[in-house]
């Protein structure tokens, strides 16, 4: 069921990626690489060096957007950080960002553990809190350095991910015409389809030495329990069976949707979703960023917006739809006509 949060304005979106870039076709010892690149649609990806944490990418993006919007750090009343690769298991990375950005100590800061649906879930949470607590200005920070969770001998996952951080500036306004429509869906029965099996310090999943040893699976992909595992067929079925229906329901209720920004998982999932939606006469524009950024997890929607529409305006409503880890889906329909979209910067 679609909900409406009234009086929320997306003021600006900024993104930051690492300078280092990996071109997939140059990856050595990979016999089927051309065929896989064609299927997943990813030619190159920004990749963080081992020294870079998610907060570094987000921090640079935050400083950039504050400067460009001429927002003062002391005016920020809430900061939410969404990531599946936080700097530490504990403490929360949002606290580190609060200090580095010199936000006032009364700022509400919190972390959310989500990946590919993180941006849209984050927008829903920050908008709801800002409305309920009457907070005027907020920052939604999302980002991941997923490449650091991938085993370099995992032949498919090693070609998929890019690293990025992004910050979206949100304003609580009195104008009831600035609507943020949203819907969400969770199916925890699929929790093992995207998982880092052993990344905890407590309980039965805690990281211990025997568990982190590399093992070969039946498809000869090498992984340890500290690496990310993707069940491609499970994710594929979840996405193509749920996303088109989910988007169709929303678009039947909200008119004038011009753009559909999907999470950039891989080309095959994207094509299949587009195909099903276009068959149902939902003629949206589907901007993309996969080719040069890969799957940037929680940052993939803002990366797609900024890589295609920097310094431009987006007329009509934009539907943003994130899906993945959990398994989870969320969608937000928002008007970005006044939103300042900044060029992607590098760290």
């Amino acid at each position: 069921m679609i909900k409406n949060i009234k009086g929320i304005e997306v003021v600006g979106i900024s993104c930051c990626v690492p300078k280092k870039k990996i071109t997939n076709k140059n990856i050595p010892n990979h016999s089927n690489i051309a065929r896989i690149i064609k299927t997943i649609g990813i030619e190159s990806r920004p990749v963080a060096s081992d020294e870079i944490c998610t907060s570094d990418l987000v921090l640079k993006s935050a400083n950039h957007i504050l400067k460009k919007l001429n927002w003062k750090s002391e005016d920020i009343e809430i900061l939410i950080f969404v990531s599946q690769t936080p700097d530490y298991l504990t403490p929360a990375t949002s606290g580190i960002l609060q200090d580095k950005l010199q936000l006032k100590k009364s700022t509400l800061v919190l972390d959310i553990n989500l990946g590919c649906s993180g941006y849209t879930h984050g927008l829903i949470v920050i908008s709801s809190l800002m409305k309920n607590l009457n907070l005027k200005k907020g920052l939604l920070a999302v980002g991941d350095v997923t490449t650091q969770l991938v085993n370099k001998d995992d032949k498919v996952s090693n070609l998929l991910f890019g690293d990025a951080g992004s910050v979206t500036a949100i304003r609580n306004v009195k104008n009831d015409l600035e609507n943020l429509y949203c819907d969400y869906y969770s199916d925890g029965s699929g929790f093992q389809d995207i998982i880092v099996p052993s990344h905890s310090l407590a309980g039965r999943n805690k990281l211990s030495n025997p568990q982190i040893m590399n093992k070969k699976d039946i498809k000869k992909n090498v992984r340890s329990n500290a690496n990310i595992f993707l069940n491609g067929s499970g994710i594929f079925n979840f996405a193509i069976n749920n996303i088109p229906r989910f988007i169709k329901d929303i678009s039947q209720n909200i008119k004038n949707i011009k753009f559909c920004f999907l999470h950039q998982a891989n080309k095959m999932i994207q094509d299949s979703i587009e195909d099903q939606l276009n068959r149902n006469k939902n003629k949206f524009t589907f901007p993309k960023s996969l080719k040069n950024f890969g799957n940037t997890s929680s940052a993939s929607i803002p990366i797609t917006i900024c890589s295609n529409y920097a310094d431009k305006k987006l007329p009509g409503y934009s539907l943003l739809c994130g899906f993945g880890v959990g398994l989870s889906i969320s969608a937000v329909v928002v008007n970005l006509r006044k939103t300042k979209i900044f060029k992607i910067i590098k760290l």
């Binding site: 089927n32 065929r35 896989i36 299927t39 997943i40 032949k155 498919v156 498809k219 069940n231 491609g232 067929s233 499970g234 594929f236 079925n237 193509i240 069976n241 095959m268 094509d271 299949s272 195909d275 099903q276």
Partner: protein
């Protein structure tokens, strides 16, 4: 062209094998990895409106088994 022949033709494109036969064994194909399985799932869903689980495709010994899943 009947459905089986059409599926065989579609599979020959995915598997990059011109003279693909229903009797061909999946274990003897040049490529039969997780990406191929996703492509077959995609074909089944988008062209034949059929949802197939990846592990079922993985268990197919012959091309005819895959055709039977999709048809």
């Amino acid at each position: 062209m009947n459905n089986s022949k059409k599926i065989l033709k579609d599979l020959s494109i995915i598997l990059e094998k011109k003279n693909l036969k229903e009797t061909d064994k999946t274990s003897e194909l040049k490529h039969f990895d997780s990406v191929i399985i996703l492509q077959i799932m995609n074909l089944a869903k988008t062209t034949y409106e059929k949802q197939i689980d990846g592990p079922k495709i993985e268990k197919c010994n012959k091309i005819s088994d895959i055709i039977n899943l999709i048809a």
